[in-house]
């Protein structure tokens, strides 16, 4: 049996056991306590036997025996308590460390990798998958150790007592081993599928919550219920299949074990009748076999835990083995001036051309607007400029050095970015703005004032310490967007990218904010994606992007002369611009 087990455990799930080697001290003590507790347990019958024997001779029980019994009982209690406590600590430690390791791995990835791995799967990895491994350590390790011990011990006793009969009895071990292997290999894939169904459930629940508003507006609750029922059904089916295998495995093991007993009764009975074996040996044989069978059944139950954890550990390993993005850049951006240059930049996503051959120069300390119709590629161009995604071809430089040459952290410290989507975290306003570390109070106040948030924050009873609910449901769209701006400005950036940020801010506030930025951050290089020509007329440069190509660049006046597309766009906004001019 030990050999079979070792081999069988060596194949797909060897790594789960490998995990233990990193916790050698825990493992050693855990095994030690398990052995001590179980070993002492075997002494109890002996003490009782001794007590009865002494009593039948002397009609008294010596005090020493009472002390011995008490000591053994206390010892068992202490060691099994220690084993249980250690088991808890070991399993939770492993789980905690694995989680941290996974989180550290995740934190090193690019956003695109996270989107590819999907948050739903990573959530399962960090919760359900690690739980499976935790259960393995908590239940299987001590269980397997004590089972193996008992199996080996009783096998030896059997062989010593009567090797011929013992060999027949031990025949059950390879039979059970084969049953294990067959069922194991099938169940393994099912467990992996089971975890994937949990990913699926996570995704459906997640979307039904993030989209809860839309669902209620469209009255599509039933559609969501159906989606969930589908995933739930799949989960139940997988669970049922796994159950099917285990509910046959367990009777097979017990029955095979029982066959051993049967063999003893019939064969052993025959031996005794023929005088090849004493009745005493026969009785002993019987009791050793019952010691042998219990741990085999135990391992049968444990195999469920092992298979599940092996499947989960495989999934976690897959994430842990994702290659880290290569970050070769070492250049410090501390003294960034803010000159940006794009040369023949193209971006392909699969077969789709997103950007074609874009070239332009942005001088340090100037203001540049990026305009163009929806789906022209503005946001993607911005992502390229910030270095969130690499271009397929061409180069982007900051102060003449390629983005890839910069130390990413250092560059992001000097570059602020306000995304289109408002992202707020469930923490205080101060923490939301102070998102980047080490922001001075002065920088914080300047950012708040620039983003025109002062009066709003003052109106809150708890001011900066007001906690914002998850997804910022307690704030209006404009408030969230201004919070995003303050967050970027608090970095005191040299370069600021704004992706359509004024879309939800009213006219008056927008004007004020843009004026504030100019006043408070005079040297800043500003790149702003926008729809409104009116607010960027006085910019140093306007880039007009259409269908992935920069079709015109220059100042407002230049474009009005050169670019018919720009003129068309300008005309489409003119009527409202007049309103704005007239009210100033």
């Amino acid at each position: 049996m030990p050999k079979t087990t070792a081999h069988q455990l060596a194949s797909p799930q060897a790594n789960v056991f490998a995990l233990l080697s990193r916790y050698r001290t825990y493992s050693i003590f855990l095994i030690l306590f398990t052995i001590l507790a179980n070993g002492l347990g075997l002494l109890v019958p002996r003490v009782i036997a001794a007590g009865i024997d002494t009593f039948s001779l002397t009609q008294t029980v010596p005090n020493s025996l009472i002390w011995e019994a008490s000591a053994i009982i206390a010892g068992i209690f202490v060691f099994s308590f220690a084993q249980n406590v250690l088991q808890t600590f070991a399993s939770e430690r492993v789980a905690r460390d694995l989680r941290n390791e996974l989180a550290a791995k995740i934190s090193r990835q690019d956003n695109s990798t996270i989107e590819k791995l999907t948050p739903a799967v990573l959530l399962t990895n960090l919760t359900s998958d690690i739980d499976a491994i935790k259960t393995f350590i908590a239940q299987a390790v001590a269980g397997i150790v004590s089972s193996l011990l008992l199996i080996i011990g009783s096998s030896i006793l059997l062989l010593i007592t009567d090797w011929k009969l013992a060999l027949v009895v031990l025949l059950i071990i390879p039979i059970i081993g084969i049953a294990f292997r067959v069922i194991f290999s099938r169940v393994q894939t099912l467990f992996i599928k089971g975890q994937e169904v949990i990913d699926w459930l996570n995704k459906v629940i997640n979307e039904s919550i993030l989209g809860s508003g839309l669902i209620r507006i469209l009255d599509s609750q039933n559609q969501e219920n159906n989606k969930f029922a589908q995933a739930n059904q799949a989960a139940t089916e997988t669970g049922m299949k796994i159950l099917g295998y285990f509910s046959s495995l367990i009777p097979i093991i017990t029955f095979t074990g029982s066959l051993a007993v049967l063999a003893i009764v019939v064969l052993g009975g025959n031996f005794v009748i023929n005088g090849e074996m004493t009745l005493g040996s026969f009785t002993a044989f019987n009791s050793y076999v019952s010691i042998l069978i219990f741990p085999i059944i135990m391992i049968g139950f444990m195999s469920n835990v092992i298979a599940r954890s092996a499947a989960s550990y495989g999934r976690i390993q897959a994430v842990l083995q994702t290659p880290d993005p290569i970050e070769a850049g070492t250049l410090s951006a501390d003294h960034l001036q803010g000159k940006i240059e794009a040369k023949n930049v193209s971006l392909l996503l699969g077969p789709k051309t997103i950007l074609k051959d874009a070239s332009f120069t942005i001088k340090a300390g100037t203001r540049t607007a990026l305009i163009g119709p929806t789906a022209a590629g503005k946001t993607q161009l911005l992502s390229l400029l910030v270095g969130l995604i690499p271009p397929t071809s061409g180069s982007i430089t900051f102060d003449g050095k390629k983005i890839s040459e910069y130390d990413r952290t250092s560059l992001f410290r000097r570059v602020g970015m306000v995304f289109q989507e408002s992202v707020v975290f469930n923490m205080t306003i101060r923490e939301n703005i102070n998102f980047s570390q080490d922001i001075s109070d002065e920088a914080l106040q300047k950012a708040i004032q620039t983003a025109e948030l002062s009066s709003f924050i003052e109106s809150l009873p708890k001011g900066l310490e007001t906690v914002i609910s998850e997804r910022g449901t307690s704030l209006s769209g404009g408030q969230k967007q201004r919070l995003m701006l303050a967050r970027a400005l608090a970095l005191n950036p040299q370069v600021l990218f704004l992706d359509d940020f004024t879309a939800r801010v009213d006219l008056k506030t927008e004007r004020k904010i843009l004026k504030n930025v100019q006043q408070n951050y005079p040297d800043i290089t500003l790149i702003s994606v926008t729809q409104k020509i009116a607010s960027v007329q006085d910019y140093d440069q306007i880039l007009l992007l259409m269908e992935g190509e920069i079709i015109a660049k220059g100042t407002h006046q230049q474009l009005l002369q050169d670019s018919p597309e720009y003129i068309q766009m300008y005309e489409s906004q003119k009527s409202t611009s007049q309103y704005e001019v007239s009210t100033e």
């Binding site: 009982i73 099994s80 009255d219 469930n426 449901t473 967050r487 009213d506």
Partner: protein, 586 residues
């Protein structure tokens, strides 16, 4: 309006109460439960019978050298073992199936419950915690039912049998043997509350961790740009540590019973031994009987020790059930009320706010005593500074919330008395922040659409052309079959807004609300949208919330919203003036 799931546990709840409350979820599986119970009893009987047959064989056949008898006994044993194997198969499969189906029922019940709750619920609870309740907590119940319950029953069965046997064999020794078990009984009662508490805390920590993970992962782009990978690690390691601490407490609580039960078992053996020896001295017992009695004591305590670990699984399941029951116990306070007497309204009146006040979650009034009427077929614009209450008004129009005071009337009928189906058919609301489900663009356009939901991509294009929406397809240069993620990562916000726009128009609503729904769409495409809106049926009423004034030029009426008040602005120019003059109300 209080939907926030509490983070405290009710420790006073009795076990029986909990069992009674989840019985309805199990009731339809009565047959399986009974079947499993029968299998348990038969299996236990077979297991008791085996040793008896062997003992009989030794005494009757082996000692008398009757090999034929031995073979006969072997045959009997084989039958017993086959019966035991069959019983064991049914035990595991029936009980496991009960667990799996219970898991299915529980998950469905929670999910369907979530769908029946109003938006306010989702604003007050965290995604990750809800996921944890649906997946993790339900699994705790499953674990108890599929693994614990059957063992619990069979062990109980064995235990009671053994206890009766011990008492009959020798009442005095029996009482001595069972005394430690009585202590255990009270101790377990006493410790259970603590075990459950510790597990409840641990499950809560798991929920908290899950909430943290989903919040961070959904916003990972921001974390990378703001150099806060360390922040993600730190925040995570903080919740991870909290989770670790509470899991340790729970683990220790779960594991205390096992050594204690073991101790009781050993003490019982010694008590029986010494008391038995005393009885022998008094001449009330034979040594032979004592020897076998001591081994019988194990027959009682072995199953009890099994129960020790199952009992912890049970407490974990109870703690999980508390968290589940909390969701199942919630009720929407936005049910459809019985049809109230229809106020006589003019034919042209579509929607009316009648002295409406509103506050989020018992806070300050966001809207105060607002009244206005929208006429069918007209276009209305709502302007005002950010945070003034525009989105709240739109949300009340589409009954995402109910007013705290006053009434919203749709075609003269209190909106609360209109079925959700009718209401949502009549009112289309394009939200400020578009949301896409994972799937193709086409699927997202047709999401929730009963009329066109089954269209093929080709047919969809034709329908879009019929609605005059064909030109918008140019904004999706790679077609409608492109797959998008839940956050619409591969699409720009403008494109997402276009999808939301198309989705709403295809539903042919009588009232179409655009809440800054085109904010990220370029002005030229927006002109296209204006043309589409203009071509909509004459009866369609439009409500436009916007900052960009070009989008509201053509409004029949402009409302100015600030500080929870609404007033008619008259002309666009007047609205501009108001906007520039008025102090922002917050």
């Amino acid at each position: 309006m209080k939907y926030q799931l509490s983070n405290t546990t009710s420790s006073s709840d009795s076990v029986l109460g909990a069992v009674r409350s989840f019985w309805p979820l199990l009731r339809h599986q009565r047959a399986q439960l009974v079947g499993a119970l029968v299998a348990v009893v038969l299996g236990s009987l077979a297991n008791l019978l085996g040793p008896l047959v062997i003992g009989y064989t030794v005494d009757q056949f082996i000692e008398t050298r009757n090999f034929g008898g031995v073979l006969q006994a072997g045959g009997v044993l084989l039958v017993i073992y086959i019966a035991a194997a069959i019983a064991s198969y049914f035990q595991t499969s029936l009980m496991g199936a009960v667990g799996q189906r219970l898991l299915f029922t529980l998950r469905s019940e929670i999910f369907v419950k979530l769908q029946s709750l109003p938006l306010a619920f989702f604003q007050q609870n965290k995604v990750g915690d809800l996921i944890s309740r649906i997946n993790n907590d339900t699994d705790k119940l499953n674990q108890f039912f599929s693994q614990g319950l059957v063992q619990f029953m069979s062990n109980m069965f064995l235990m009671v049998g053994a206890a009766i046997f011990l008492l009959i064999l020798n009442p005095r020794l029996g009482v001595a043997a069972l005394l430690p078990a009585v202590v255990l009984f009270f101790l377990t009662q006493f410790l259970s509350a603590w075990i459950k508490q510790a597990n409840a805390k641990s499950l809560r920590a798991v929920g908290g961790m899950s909430a943290e993970v989903s919040e961070s992962l959904e916003n990972f782009k921001l974390i990378t740009v703001f150099n806060r990978r360390d922040y993600f690690r730190d925040r995570f390691s903080e919740v991870n540590e909290a989770n670790y601490q509470s899991a340790i407490s729970a683990g220790i609580a779960n594991n205390t019973l096992i050594p204690i039960y073991g101790l009781a078992s050993n003490i019982a053996q010694c008590v029986v031994l010494f008391y038995g020896l005393m009885l022998i001295l008094q001449g009330n017992l034979s040594i032979g009987l004592l020897v076998s009695y001591v081994s019988y004591v194990n027959r009682f305590y072995d199953p009890i020790r099994q129960v020790a670990s199952i009992w912890s699984t049970f407490q974990v399941a109870l703690a999980g059930w508390d968290r589940i029951a909390e969701i199942l116990g919630l009720h929407s306070d936005m049910e459809v009320t019985s049809t109230s007497a229809k106020t006589v309204a003019k034919k042209t009146e579509l929607l009316r706010f009648d002295h409406v006040s509103f506050a989020y979650d018992q806070g300050k009034d966001v809207l105060h005593d607002i009244s206005f009427t929208l006429q069918a077929g007209k276009t209305y614009a709502f302007v005002g500074p950010t945070g003034g209450g525009k989105t709240t008004i739109a949300s009340l129009m589409s009954r995402l919330f109910d007013p705290t005071k006053g009434r919203v009337l749709l075609e003269g009928q209190d909106i609360r008395s209109i079925s959700s189906q009718t209401r949502t058919q009549k009112i289309g609301f394009i939200l400020q922040e578009p949301f896409l489900f994972s799937g193709t663009i086409g699927e997202n356009i047709l999401y929730g659409n009963k009329e066109f939901g089954q269209l093929s991509p080709k047919e969809l294009e034709k329908v879009l052309a019929d609605f005059g929406l064909a030109d918008l397809l140019k904004r999706f240069p790679h077609g409608l079959d492109v797959t998008v993620g839940s956050k619409g990562q591969s699409l720009s916000l403008g494109q997402q807004q276009l999808i939301a726009f198309i989705r709403a128009v295809l539903r042919k609503p009588r009232l179409l609300i655009l809440d800054e729904a085109t904010a990220n769409i370029d002005t030229m495409t927006e002109q296209l949208l204006d043309e589409i809106l203009a071509k909509l049926s004459k009866e369609t009423t439009k409500v436009i919330i916007a900052h960009r004034f070009n989008t509201i030029e053509n409004a029949d009426e402009i409302f100015f919203v600030n500080a929870g008040q609404v007033k008619k602005a008259g002309s666009l120019k007047h609205a501009m003036e108001l906007l520039l003059k008025e102090k922002r109300g917050s």
